[in-house]
Amino acid sequence: MKKTVSILLILAALMCMLFVGCGDSTAPSAEATPNAPSAPAKEYVFSYNGISIPMKAEAAPIVSQLGEPLNYFESESCAFKGLDKIYTYASFELCTYPVDGVDYVLSVRFTNDTVSTAEGISIGSSLDSLNTVYSSSVAVGETGFTLTGGDSSLAFILDGSTGAVTSVKYSANN
């Protein structure tokens, strides 16, 4: 009888473990989250007219400071709630992603040469200046170069034949 009781106790314990044994991990939420936002990254931060735009920062205060965009686009993700939003300004596009009803900065992409990175690189900058500023050794023929720091990345697309910068984009890392 003692053995039987032991078996029953083990089975009951196993059942309990299902509920408590795995800590407090949560089930997938109703929103597709690239990942939960953490503290804004310090390493690669775009700044426009004195407005700092760190990746994964809450978007609303930034959007409000930037003023009316030239264009606004939103797209629902397949299945999940919330909208990915793209605000187009005169010289860059700002994309956001939603988490629990709050929008966060996903990326900033330059659309012309009137803005530059904090280190002074803009669309049209030469490969030499890029290599000097970021202490890199990118060669002519390479078409992309990405720097990563904390929660952010800074990616450059380069002209394959000249090495000149053709696109600049800050992104939130997954």
Binding site: K3, T4, I7, L8, L11, L14, M15, L18, F19, C22, D24, S25, T26, A27, P28, S29, A30, E31, A32, T33, P34, N71, F73, S75, E76, C78, A79, F80, I86, T88, E93, R109, T111, T143, G144, A155, I157, L158, T166, S167, K169
Partner: protein, 357 residues
């Protein structure tokens, strides 16, 4: 001796009760995907099918929102099913095809190529929508292994309770309502949306440093082509007519080249919008419900009519409308389809938007 038998019976009964309780608890805690995130119910619905299909569509939302199997049936007598899910990645499409072949051998497999742009698993949330509903089999195990992101574990797909145990304090009425039986949410894998939201402007396509489609995707496309060939199935590649996200010309060229090299048909339906009659922009009558990302019901019906015509004029395909058994099944499917259409139109007229869909 008698005492021993009693003990054995008692232990067996205890284990049976425990196993029963385990699976009942698991069933309760699993998301039901009925009131919310209905896309999560798509994979499992396929197993309720009672007839075989001429055509199996596989891919992402660009198939389950854009093709209407009922239109293909009504206009051409073609039987079809969509095995598509939200952001279904190519390896998931491949394994869902393998899974499908456990039950039937279609004449045609139509694969939408948008997912060729993703070379790595994207998120657990989307993995769960596609894979949770798959019947447990060696194919599911392979699908999960190919799909898992860094923090996921295979065992949680075999025993979902290990993933969802913490839902006990988030249980909703739908968890009890759909404990035993779920409602049907699709029409042979098609999710119907009758509302209209015309396309406006899109952001400029972003330049990429490298337009080469990922090597993993080509490997799976090779596997898919080989699997179809092995089973004497015609594989057709398509790019559905969704305006956003962008489908780059450079990607298209690679698919065209692959199709030519492998003797496969490929239609970029984005180039056929005028021929199909798809209108993305008229305020009241546009064929999209979300500004050009997906087609609405009228768009899906136009596209399916065009695609059925294309299939019939390029291949020998049997018209099953004179088969009484299949007709009876599809007659019921059509009735459900029109009932939902009517209900959606009623909601649109009453509330100006869809409330229950």
């Amino acid at each position: 001796m008698k005492r021993n038998i009693k003990r054995i019976i008692f232990v067996v009964a205890a284990v049976a009760v425990w196993v029963g309780a385990f699976f009942m608890t698991q069933r309760l805690l699993e998301p039901k995907y009925m009131d919310d995130l209905i896309e999560g119910a798509l994979t499992a619905e396929y197993y309720d099918e009672t007839t075989k299909h001429d055509v199996i569509f596989i891919g992402d939302c660009e198939v389950y929102e854009n093709f209407s199997p009922v239109t293909l049936w009504e206009n051409y007598g073609i039987t079809s099913y969509i095995r598509g899910n939200a952001q279904q990645l190519i390896w998931q499409s491949y394994y869902l095809l393998e899974d499908t072949l456990r039950y039937e051998k279609p004449e045609f497999v139509v694969f939408n190529v948008l997912s060729m742009k993703y070379g790595e698993p994207q998120s657990e949330e989307y993995n769960r929508l596609t894979l949770d509903g798959m019947e447990l089999s060696p194919v599911k195990i392979k699908a999960v292994e190919a799909s898992m992101t860094e923090d996921e574990e295979l065992i949680t797909y075999i025993f979902p309770i290990l993933r969802y145990h913490s839902r006990w304090n988030q249980l909703k009425s739908e968890d009890f309502e759909y404990f035993f039986k779920k409602d049907k949410i699709s029409h042979n894998g098609f999710i119907m949306r009758a509302d209209v939201r015309p396309a406006t402007t899109f952001p400029e396509p972003e330049p990429l440093a490298d337009y080469t489609l990922p090597a993993t995707c080509w490997e799976y496309l090779d596997k898919m082509a080989a699997l179809c060939k092995e089973n004497d199935i015609e594989l057709i590649l398509i790019k559905a007519p969704s305006l956003y996200p962008v489908w780059y010309d450079q990607w298209d060229e690679q698919i065209v080249e692959y199709a030519q090299k492998n003797g496969l048909a490929y239609i970029n339906l984005l180039d056929k919008c005028d021929e199909i009659g798809i209108d993305f922009y008229s305020p009241e009558t546009a064929d999209t419900y979300d500004r050009g990302l997906h087609l609405n019901l009228s768009g899906a019906e136009k596209l399916s009519n065009y695609f059925g015509g294309w299939l019939c004029s390029n291949y020998q395909i049997t018209d099953h409308r004179n088969d009484p058994d299949i007709s009876a099944v599809y007659s019921e499917k059509s009735a459900d389809y029109y009932a939902m259409k009517e209900d959606q139109l009623r909601e649109l007229s009453e509330f100006g938007e869809l409330k229950s869909y």
